[in-house]
């Protein structure tokens, strides 16, 4: 009886520790054009302080494995806000498959496989049709490893 209890307690302790496997953060930024030291025009990302309709914002999600165990089947899911239009081709995620949903997150597929029906006519889905974007890691996220996902959207 005592040993059983000990095992149960140990299992519970492991589950509690699992909540802090990953450190996940997200930022929203804008692109800024500047002249670098060589006198050339360059762009960089800066904090999105002032944003007006028509402007493009960049969302970056970083996820770091702060535990000592490997995190597997990592999937980052990001609904696209109603006032935002996803920018075609802007999704970035090293080591991930990027997928999209056009049905409110029920199903996901790669961009080229998605179709929508508009005015009774079927056409290829575009950024403006996406309701969600998600990154599916192809490999495990080893202990101490970090991954990045990014996408851009235009504020309507």
């Amino acid at each position: 009886m005592k040993i059983l209890t000990a095992i149960i307690l140990a299992t519970l302790a492991v589950s509690a520790a699992a909540e802090t496997h990953l450190d996940v953060r997200t930022t929203v930024q804008k692109e800024e054009t500047f002249i670098n030291d060589a006198g050339e025009q360059q762009t960089r990302l800066v904090a999105a302080d002032i944003v007006v309709p028509g402007e493009k914002v960049f969302y970056t999600i970083t996820f770091r494995n702060i535990s000592e165990e490997s995190a597997d089947n990592v999937v980052i899911t990001n609904p696209i806000a109603a006032d935002l239009l996803y920018v075609d081709g802007s999704g970035i995620g090293p080591g991930t498959d990027i997928q999209f949903s056009v049905d409110g997150g029920k199903t996901f597929a790669s961009a080229e496989d998605l179709v929508v029906i508009e005015d009774g006519v079927e056409r290829a889905a575009e950024g403006r049709d996406f309701t969600h974007v998600r990154w599916v890691m192809k490999n495990d996220l080893e202990a101490g490893a970090e991954g990045t996902a990014r996408f851009a959207a235009i504020l309507e």
């Binding site: 589950s15 699992a18 909540e19 496997h21 990953l22 996940v24 953060r25 997200t26 930022t27 929203v28 999105a48 302080d49 002032i50 944003v51 007006v52 309709p53 028509g54 914002v57 969302y59 999600i61 996820f63 535990s67 165990e69 490997s70 995190a71 597997d72 089947n73 990592v74 999937v75 980052i76 899911t77 990001n78 609904p79 806000a81 006032d83 935002l84 996220l141 996902a149 504020l155 309507e156």
Partner: protein
């Protein structure tokens, strides 16, 4: 001799007629309302040792700022025709709010001094100009502005427009063809408090939950201007009087006793506007005698030819409806009994001719 034009006729006013305003297709989308908070949430799901772990979510937000965009456009299709002396002539300008926020607007009016309006040189000022804002925007009835009405635009909704009417009184001394241009400036102001004129918008550093301004109007400064104007339209009359000795001068051409002198008065209207109520008052010199029932005039005392029409003229009887009266030595052609006077059409000439005889105290038997 005096030329009297007692009253001007009414001219066509190309003012602000009913204008159909098209709002179906906006060239510029208004966009998400300023002040809207846009949230983005990323959720990470994963397994450890094939065991599903609790999802981890993280969010970040920003508040939509104000994109200040608006236009001030002419409504009329041409300068407004005014009659010298006319009051309350007007034209409208349309203020359209293309921002993603309601806006107040402060207004300022200035008469042009030189320069051009509608590609025409500004050459005059009105006797008085002032403006008033409509009490109902286009989305709220598009009410005709009344003189002395509101002096600033209050809480104009995004994607709505409102008419501002510029009124003018034309000086009586305004000459035909003179142009008075007027400029109206509109400055975007802070919305939020109804009946309070918002102070001019400024650009400021971002605050986390506040609404900052980005100027996206034509001048990128929150100020837009436009002009329109008035053009005086009146008849331009030129009057000349000449004489010729037509008989009894023994071939000399000189107005000697016993000769007949014929006077010709021409009234030329060189404008395209008819001049109404034209009347000629001429005093016959007391030393000469007015010839009556002149055969060359078809029996009329005075020849009155208006354009292509010959008018009857009997000065011996006054107030008989022909407008030809003689009171003592004063002769009036175009008197009130002719329905107010003679109308000289645009690009037309009124020719009045009469003959006098110089008395011969010692006629040759």
């Amino acid at each position: 001799m005096k030329l009297k034009v007692r009253k001007k006729s009414l001219f066509l006013r190309l003012g602000a007629l009913a204008v159909v305003l098209m709002f179906g297709q906006q060239a510029m989308a208004i966009g998400t309302a300023a002040g809207t908070q846009v949230d983005n949430t990323a959720t990470v799901g994963y397994t450890v040792n094939t065991v599903n772990q609790t999802d981890i979510s993280t969010s970040v937000s920003f508040v939509v700022d104000r994109r200040v965009d608006f236009t001030l456009t002419q409504v009329g299709g041409a300068l407004v025709n005014v009659t010298p002396g006319e009051t309350g002539a007007f034209f409208d300008l349309l203020l359209t709010n293309d921002a993603n926020s309601p806006l107040d607007f402060s207004l300022a009016l200035n008469e042009l001094v030189g320069g051009t309006v509608r590609a025409v040189a500004d050459t005059a000022n009105m006797q008085a100009v002032d403006y008033a804002v409509s009490t109902g925007s286009v989305a709220n009835g598009d009410v005709d502005p009344a003189r002395l009405g509101p002096q600033f635009v209050d809480e104009l909704a995004a994607d709505d427009s409102i008419r501002i009417r510029v009124f003018g009184d034309a000086a009586l001394a305004m000459l035909n063809g003179e142009v008075a241009g007027v400029q109206l400036d509109a400055t975007a102001g802070e919305p939020g408090a109804a009946t309070v004129e918002g102070s001019a918008l400024v650009v400021a550093a971002d605050t986390a939950l506040g609404i900052e301004n980005v100027f996206a109007d034509a001048g990128n400064d929150g100020v837009e201007s436009n002009t329109d104007g008035f053009i005086a339209v009146s008849a331009a009359l030129a009057v000349t009087k000449t004489y010729a000795v037509i008989a009894g001068d023994l071939g000399s051409g000189m107005p000697i006793p016993g000769s007949t002198v014929e006077y010709t008065i021409t009234v030329v209207n060189s404008s395209t506007t008819a001049a109404d109520f034209v009347a000629i008052a001429d005093d016959i010199d007391t030393d000469v005698t007015l010839n009556l029932n002149v055969a060359a005039y078809g029996g009329n005392d005075v020849s009155v030819v208006n354009g292509a029409a010959t008018l009857p003229c009997d000065v011996e009887t006054n107030a008989d409806g022909d407008g030809c009266d003689l009171a003592g030595a004063s002769m009036t052609i175009g008197a009130v009994d002719l329905g107010g006077g003679i109308t000289v059409a645009g690009s037309s000439t009124l020719t009045i001719m009469y003959q006098v005889t110089i008395p011969d105290p010692d006629p040759t038997p």
